[in-house]
Symmetry: C2
């Protein structure tokens, strides 16, 4: 659930050390700052060097939907670059964030001239389609309880603690609903992880749930 891509990071880091030009440079953001603002025009493509950010969209009714949490090596702004559009979504730093800023010209060069990079980019895009589609499907076709468990088990693989608001926005439910689900799960003395296709046993599961207890 927190995406990374070290291969991309490597390529960019090589290029940055090779030529210290104005083509690739670093930028730092504090938690809460936005790298991309939905609807604005972009001039760079970014690659995250360090830190975690959330990629989300704010609907007209004020509700947010989080597409992904992005970590090291993730590309940002490539959609806007390729489609020549304004930002589809917001990217906001959750931790301190360091990103490589890549000029449009240079990124365009990379795609055309650097075959391995082109291949990596195709892979990144396809991976996104895969995950976005898969999640869109199960998140709408299974009840919140199932999705909550799935989310918690994914979260357990990372150390970071995310706010409940963010978790709820990822699941596309209200905070109230999310809290209720957690409470229900805690109260269920008999939980069969295998019912949920989770790769964890009951002990692990309870550990997870009680992380979020009072």
């Amino acid at each position: 659930m927190i995406r990374n891509n070290l291969a991309i990071l490597n390529i960019i880091e090589q290029y940055q050390t090779n030529k210290k030009g104005a083509d690739v440079f670093l930028k730092t953001l504090e938690p809460g700052e936005k790298l991309l603002q939905q609807g604005t025009t972009l001039h760079y493509v970014y690659v995250i060097r360090e830190g975690i950010s959330k990629c989300y969209l704010t609907e007209n009714n004020g509700k947010d939907f989080i597409f992904e949490f992005l970590g090291a090596g993730e590309i940002v702004g490539e959609i806007e670059f390729i489609k020549h559009t304004r930002c589809l979504c917001n990217i906001e730093a959750l931790t301190s964030l360091t990103v490589y800023c890549i000029t449009y010209d240079y990124f365009s060069q990379l795609i055309r001239i650097n075959q391995p990079f082109n291949t990596l980019l195709l892979d990144v895009l396809v991976t996104r389609i895969y995950h976005t589609s898969e999640r869109a499907s199960y998140q709408q076709r299974y009840p919140a309880e199932y999705n909550t468990l799935k989310l918690l088990s994914l979260l357990a693989a990372h150390q970071i603690v995310l706010s409940k608001k963010d978790l709820a926005d990822y699941l596309a439910v209200s905070i109230r609903s999310f809290n209720r689900t957690l409470k229900d799960l805690r109260n269920k003395s008999i939980l069969h992880p295998e019912d949920f296709n989770l790769y964890m046993d009951k002990v692990e599961l309870n550990k997870l749930l009680h992380q979020y207890e009072d």
Copy 2:
């Protein structure tokens, strides 16, 4: 909602006429036949020449979720090709379907050697991410009524009549729910399309709704 891509179709048609080899050949499917079966291994990438198909995933609980309706020029199987995985989803013909079958070898060549094709492919992938993400967001963040109207207005732009099951699967709701929403909408004498950001007036809207009346 029914995707097309004439630029891709053009390129493939040119190549097919140029060299009548075993690299690109045609295949025909009857309505109901599957071009891709979720979980199976693929050996070709396909480009739709004519007809409409649905791209959907069947969850373990038996529920389907339709990602998209694919029309002329749409690429199928490129995800499986690039990620070396088995089929993520099903592709099923809704009308008679003619597709170009492209060998993996040849597709791989196209990507590497044919710059315009590579660019088109990037554009296709990015467009998919864009639409999938946008829809995942609003479909989960707005009530069914809003989504139903949006769907009907999109549908109006095409001539094809889709089954209610397919429309419900696209919206990720039960048929019962979908029927109920249609009924409610029909009974609302005062409907303000502008409330829903729909590009149509009240007369058009009613025409739409009564298409699906008894």
